[in-house]
Symmetry: C2
Subunit: 340 residues, 2 copies
């Protein structure tokens, strides 16, 4: 899922995302709550209408941004008080509030409010954090079930509803992760995410945790690994049975002139590309590779032209979506056999 | 003509320009000479290929940028010495050098090297400046005729060649303008531009100078007013018989959140648009007005999202191109009668 933090996948128009075959994008609850505000978005009919994206949307719970972006935050059993990274104003988020905001935004998939355990965390800290996440998951699901008909696009005649996913935490402790997964499954979420990964731990550890947790999550519901990853990682996770992933990497790297290609990573700023008239990735058929050269992209980066971010992002997203497309095609027959 | 200073119309992909019906864009010789360098562009087959724009291109002479952007410039009869605004390096431009650079870039239309007379300028200064411009025009045309087959895409079997336009200067002195126009016409350029306008003079004066000079320029050759203007101005000039105009206004204003619409100018940052769900211009059928709301564009600007520049620029360019399209349709029958 391309990440559209503030209601836009940075530098890429919605019509381009559609043409690349993106079926779902992610919005960040924390950012949209602060600006333009969830009540404004509710009054305008929800996030789909506000950003003109008539396809699937997912909003995170805001928890991760509260923990990574804000100052002076204070966590209690009830929720978390924090100061906005924009203007320093004080806010209090509880599981109920996160769900209210997400219902107002009206994404197709909401996430339970969790505490993302930092890395490294000792066992005592990880247990404490997990207890909070599980209590908040219970409160998230209860509040969501009680209020989900308040979504701005609610239509009693349509069968469209919002979904709520739970998030498995537990730091790098396998038994805590297992315990969390089991408890969340009992709460009957519509899908399950594995959170608290890609927070600085070695990559082998990320893989181990995913491998540990994944079999405990229902196969007939979406299973989502949050915040990953590099091209080879997303392929690996998809082949393990992960259904969904999100990552800022393709777009953030693009804005820093890093292109992912079938031949590896290219730092397109590099002088060696100054007169390279080949496409960014000769095996890629994205609109950028069909039309532009490495030399031109390098020039745009060198000249600080805004088109650099746009074209680099389009290519990287096409590359990521292409990986998932190929994995999907190669897995589908097996999946069909599995169900039969 | 949308302006693509550094080989890109800022924030707008070439395929979008095509879809808006742009038939010609402008590149700035001064910028492209400094970065990536005209020799590099020549080696890559010229500017069309380098930026992937298989339509018409015009390059200016570099004169205007040398006079407006650079420090420590020293003008002599031979040419102008200046320091790069990028790295302070010293360069010397003569009419011959400007033409060499423009032949290397290979745009369809090149411009004679001129001195843009500042405003205000007293009569003595304007006369001096004009003498230089006329001498440089002669040298530009001579050098161009001698070297135009050196264009990187030269093909003896094709009938495609570069064109060279002369630039009428003369400050705000009508008799100097007339004198310049007559002398340039004698030099038999492929087209004629009126330069040195929109340099700070009152708008009525710009109009007077255009009205004075235009009838002196051959009707069967393109007549180009440089660096204008606001939507109502470009319509007015087009109806007076001006064939070509260029201006950074639609794209620069867009990057500063100013939209041109059939209802006047909108500063889309304005709070009044925070929940305005109408399109930027309700009578416009551009891709932005068909899909996005004022509220969304305002949000993108407020959140400093790069998509703001892209969408605002697309709308403003569509608005400008739409004006010219309508003027053209309304003038064509008369033009046909005129020829018959």
């Amino acid at each position: 899922m391309p990440v559209g933090t503030q209601g836009t996948v940075k530098a890429v128009p919605q019509e381009t995302l559609e043409s690349l075959g993106a079926e779902i994008i992610l919005g960040n609850t924390y950012h949209l709550y602060l600006r333009p505000g969830h009540q404004a978005i509710r009054r305008m009919g929800g996030l789909h209408r506000f950003i003109s994206w008539p396809h699937a949307l997912l909003t995170d719970s805001g928890g991760f941004q509260v923990f990574s972006l804000t100052a002076l935050r204070k966590v209690t059993e009830d929720g978390v008080r924090f100061r906005s990274h924009l203007d320093g104003s004080s806010h209090f988020f509880t599981p109920e509030h996160s769900i209210d905001v997400q219902i107002a935004l009206g994404a197709d998939i909401c996430m339970a409010f969790d505490e993302c355990t930092e890395y490294p965390a000792d066992r005592f800290r990880a247990e404490q954090s997990l207890r909070l996440t599980m209590a908040w998951a219970r409160r998230s699901v209860d509040h969501f079930r009680a209020h989900q008909l308040e979504v701005p696009w609610f239509d009693p005649k349509a069968c469209r509803t919002q979904c709520l996913f739970g998030i498995v935490q537990g730091g790098m402790y396998r038994d805590l992760r297992r315990q969390c997964a089991q408890r969340l499954v009992e709460m009957e979420f519509d899908g399950y995410a594995i959170g608290g990964l890609s927070v600085g731990e070695p990559r082998e550890l990320t893989l181990e945790i995913v491998a540990e947790v994944l079999p405990l999550l229902p196969k007939d519901k979406p299973r989502y690994v949050m915040g990953v990853g590099y091209p080879d990682e997303i392929e690996q996770y998809a082949r393990m049975g992960v259904d969904m992933m999100d990552c800022v990497l393709p777009t953030r790297a693009a804005r820093h002139a890093l292109l992912f290609t079938s031949q590896g990573r290219l730092n397109i700023k590099n002088k060696q590309f100054a007169e390279d008239q080949s496409p960014p990735d000769p095996t890629c058929s994205c609109p950028v590779c069909r039309r532009y050269t490495r030399a031109y992209l390098r020039h745009l980066v060198q000249a600080s032209e805004p088109l650099a971010a746009t074209l680099n992002s389009i290519h990287n997203l096409a590359f990521y979506l292409g990986i998932m497309q190929r994995v999907r095609s190669s897995l589908e027959p097996a999946g069909m056999r599995d169900l039969a």
